[in-house]
């Protein structure tokens, strides 16, 4: 709730929120100046999880950095892998005649897994947000459903969280036997469970009333602060890299891009916390649609028996290919919005510089403007609704 016509009087108290706070989703520290219950200013303090991943990239060869991209955004590791691998593939292919050829099945597998990971990431996002707002049960629903995605991932690539699955030039492994049926079964379960989930929390009038109109971001602000992904679309800006700048095989699948529209009813405003929540629920179902289409359109068996899903890019002497000098910026649509990898090559085996642009960082930068005037308990709603993941901020 915004307090209208509020004037600061009396002493201000400095309140430390974090770095250990259950609702900051990691180790983010917000230094709040409060007057009673109302926040007067908010200053984020970063770096509690700065693991110098970008610097580590300069010490490692190109393929060795892929596991670290898992750790940049561990809630949707596949998507991070995808962004980095696309960037290096562009770099490798920047000289004519040396384009990286990715097997068709691998391309389908990439977006299949990227979308499955988007589902599992959004499930954590909406579940954890509901938990921050005091509703614990939806969180358990989200986590329970996420386990099913993890099962599929685990059988195919061997890991539950940090996959290292999408490689430069393809993917690491073909689907395990019986995966198609499992994924289709998951799609059914997911759609069924989302109906229950929405009945449980999204349509809950207490939840709606709690979030309606809280921390609304106008479209102009969203653009000028560089918000991306669901946070941007909740403010009514219709932009999705998967549709507007398709990479991979996204141009071959049909899906809707939802935008915010004051879903909370009379008190709701476009771009408020409730819109951001609802948008993620809708995107889960859209991703299920994409997953189904991937399974339909994927070539049933691999085209070439010896190289079904691509793999590391090697030259004639079985040495890893070195990219030419140059730089690329490659961006993909992550669950948390645009993630870009800027890779600079000096022609050696190791990248000269890797810069990662992440959605959480810009989402966090708007707090300073958004939070003043809100109640302390609404700060939790702001953090949760933007779905920030701290290692994406600190890297």
């Amino acid at each position: 709730m915004t307090v209208e016509a509020y004037t600061v009087d009396g002493d201000l108290m400095t309140l430390n929120m974090g770095p250990h706070h259950p609702s900051t989703h990691g180790v983010l520290r917000l230094v709040l100046e409060v007057d009673g219950e109302v926040v007067v200013s908010c200053r984020p303090d970063l770096g509690y999880l700065h693991r110098s991943i970008e610097k580590i990239g300069e010490f490692l060869e190109y393929p060795q950095f892929v596991p670290y991209t898992d750790r940049v955004d561990y809630v949707c590791a596949m998507n991070s892998n995808h962004a980095y691998c696309l960037a290096v593939e562009q770099l490798l292919g920047s000289v004519a005649g040396s384009e990286v050829k990715i097997p068709e099945r691998a391309e389908w597998l990439r977006i299949l897994f990227a979308e499955l990971n988007r589902i599992s990431s959004h499930l954590v996002a909406v579940g954890a947000f509901a938990m921050d707002m005091g509703a614990f049960t939806p969180f358990l629903h989200g986590i329970g459903l996420r386990e099913l995605v993890n099962d599929i991932f685990e059988k195919t690539c061997g890991a539950r969280l940090t996959y290292n699955y999408i490689t430069i030039g393809g993917v690491a492994a073909d689907l395990h036997a019986g995966a198609e049926a499992e994924i289709l079964a998951f799609c059914d379960t997911c759609e069924r469970e989302m109906v229950r989930f929405n009945r449980l929390i999204t349509a809950n009038s207490i939840f709606k009333g709690r979030l309606a109109g809280v921390a609304a971001v106008s479209a102009a602000d969203a653009v000028s602060y560089g918000l991306v992904g669901p946070n941007l679309r909740a403010s009514g800006v219709d932009f999705d890299l998967r549709r507007d700048e398709p990479y991979g095989f996204y141009s071959r699948v049909q899906f809707e891009v939802p935008v915010g529209g004051a879903f909370a009813g009379a008190r709701g405003r476009v771009g408020d916390s409730y819109d951001r929540f609802v948008l993620r629920c809708i995107e889960i179902l859209e991703s299920v649609r994409i997953v189904r289409q991937c399974l339909e359109q994927m070539p049933k068996s691999a085209a070439k028996a010896d190289d079904p899903v691509g793999g590391w890019q090697v030259d004639a002497n079985k040495q890893l290919r070195k990219p030419p000098r140059g730089e690329v910026y490659c961006r993909v649509e992550n669950p948390r919005g645009e993630t870009g990898y800027h890779v600079v090559s000096d022609g050696s085996r190791k990248p000269y510089r890797i810069k990662i642009r992440t959605g959480s960082f810009t989402a966090m930068s708007i707090f300073e403007k958004l939070v003043p005037g809100l109640m302390i308990s609404d700060v939790v709603a702001v953090i949760g609704s933007f779905d920030i993941v701290v290692p994406e901020i600190d890297r």
Binding site: H20, Y48, L60, L140
Partner: protein, 195 residues
Amino acid sequence: MAECGSKAGNRDGEQLALTCVDDFLNWGKENSLFYLLFATACCGIELMQTGGPRFDTDRLGMIPRPTPRQADLMILAGTITHKMASRAHLLWKQMAEPRWVVSMGSCANAGGPFSKYSYSVLNGMDKFLPVDVYIPGCPPRPEALIDGCMALRERVRRFRALGIRDRDPVVIASASPAPVCGDQGFKPQRPEGQG
């Protein structure tokens, strides 16, 4: 309660059980290990999933608590950076004794994938906290975490609050140095007069 040998008797219809005080206390402690909801990085997601419906740590009496003052157990889930170390240590100090520490994942154990090249990651939180159980993995599976917790329960059972701590003194507060950031560099600072 078998260690000291317990006797059950019946006196005028009342049930009596004889046991050692320590055994009795430990029986209570090991069945209600409330853990601090402390997650710094990727391992935190696995910690979350372990608390979720499939693995369900609640059935072991392990319930997440948001504040250190209500927690018995600190699960270090994730990377501890230099900046975070002193805060993690503070959280540990705020927990009431007896307190336990489980180090989950390679990062908290030894720096994990960041130990070699990173300039900002602490190579193992055991430099500052007395760690009871180490769980390897990047991230460890929920089964591994539960296994670690069962190992910890074993340890809790051997804890002697009243008797002589003859085996493995578990929590030695004074021997664990506090991290100090800043110009001293990032070195364990032991209290005066201690090795």
